[in-house]
Symmetry: C2
Subunit: 244 residues, 2 copies
């Protein structure tokens, strides 16, 4: 009976840990959706509220950290239970970063003027929806220990990277055509970069799910399609270079 | 004798883990110093070599991860030993990110032309030396379990943030004066942001050292002085706004 009792409450603690990850993931997902919405609507007032939501995500990370330390110290789990605890530690760190990036997107709202074009806003909206879907699906993959679904999320990050690179080039071109666009477009470059990084963190979470279920990381390196670090646009003729 | 043997080899494993963190930290430090050097010298050829060094850092992270999982599963450490293992897991993730940012700095070398001014290059060099010092000192703090030294690193990150904000404003102004500067200065903005983020990771490591030694995180939130997300420069009169 005592052994059964210990097993039972250990199981309960693990489930609690998993549900905290689900709650934290839901908050990060909402934070990102809200941040992109207020940014695209240039709603500086709501932007400040959205940025402030991040404290709940930070508090949950701290709570999950403490849960994992307690679980490891008192229960000393092995095999898959140990890997769930370690995955929760890593995933909560990724979700905390996602919340930070979303907060930063909301913060940049007040630097944006009307001058950034509709086309670029649409691309940012599309990138945002893509990574929101990735976060949602990778959290489902974690909850259901679904390696195939996690792998699918990793693959989808390529589209985010490709969109980011093309948006980078567009924004540079736009800045060259109109000096007044330089400040807002620079902030849009960082917004786009933040979304691209959020995609990378969703990919990290997918790898943690793989590790949790299989006991090893995915064997293949994910192909990187973000070529923005090499992308140049020439001011004299607006011809495109780089992007290799 | 058997118990002594177990204690002895457990201790050996912990020391091995700590020395791997020291090696990984040294590599990240070198990677950053080299990346900034080749970038400032516009040495595209060496930049590719520097970017390639990152694979050794990635391999070490994977090795440390495996060591920690094995240690937790087989030795089931408690108290400070458990915290050392968990700190090693977190610190290796931070060092991996530092390596990634340094790699990205090296990659951007080939987008830079002569047009970025000497003043900005000097500021980037200064930011780079500051964060290199932070990485070095926080690794010493880890090796010597020195909370005071870790706290000192956290404080120094404020200077990095302040330099980053002023450089952000300078680069925007420069881009408005000369459209040919837009592409290289945009990449310099991301180089500066990468260095600022490396400072944040050194700060994270300082917090891991605090947790490892004290069993809790530092109580005070570190004040953030990076105001670049709010910084705007107006193209019409080059007057500065934002920065609050």
């Amino acid at each position: 009976v005592t052994t059964q009792h210990i097993v039972h409450s250990f199981d309960k603690e693990l489930r609690k840990l998993e549900s905290n990850i689900a709650v934290m993931g839901g908050l990060a997902e909402t934070q990102l959706a809200d941040a992109i919405e207020v940014m695209l609507q240039r709603d500086s007032e709501r932007a400040a509220q959205v940025a402030a939501q991040d404290t709940r995500i930070d508090a949950l990370e701290e709570q999950i950290n403490q849960q994992v330390v307690r679980l490891l110290a008192l229960r000393q789990p092995v095999a898959v239970d140990l890997r769930v605890a370690l995955a929760a530690l890593k995933i909560s760190a990724d979700l905390e970063r996602i919340g930070d990036y979303a907060k930063n997107i909301a913060k940049r709202t007040r630097t944006l003027t009307e001058s950034a074009s509709v086309a670029q806003a649409m691309t940012i909206g599309r990138m945002g929806r893509l990574v929101q879907g990735m976060i949602k699906d990778v959290l489902d993959a974690f909850a259901n220990r679904d390696v195939a679904k996690a792998e699918d999320v990793r693959i989808r990050d390529e589209e985010v990277d490709a969109l980011h690179t093309s948006l980078f080039r567009e924004l540079l071109t736009y800045m060259m055509e109109d000096a007044r666009a330089i400040t807002p477009c620079t902030h849009l470059l960082f917004v786009a970069k933040n979304i691209e990084r959020i995609g990378d963190h969703a990919t990290n979470i997918a790898e943690s799910v793989h590790f949790m279920v299989e006991g090893s990381l995915p064997l293949d390196e994910r192909p990187k399609h973000d070529a923005s670090s090499f992308t140049t646009v020439d001011a004299d003729d607006n011809e495109e270079g780089g992007g290799g």
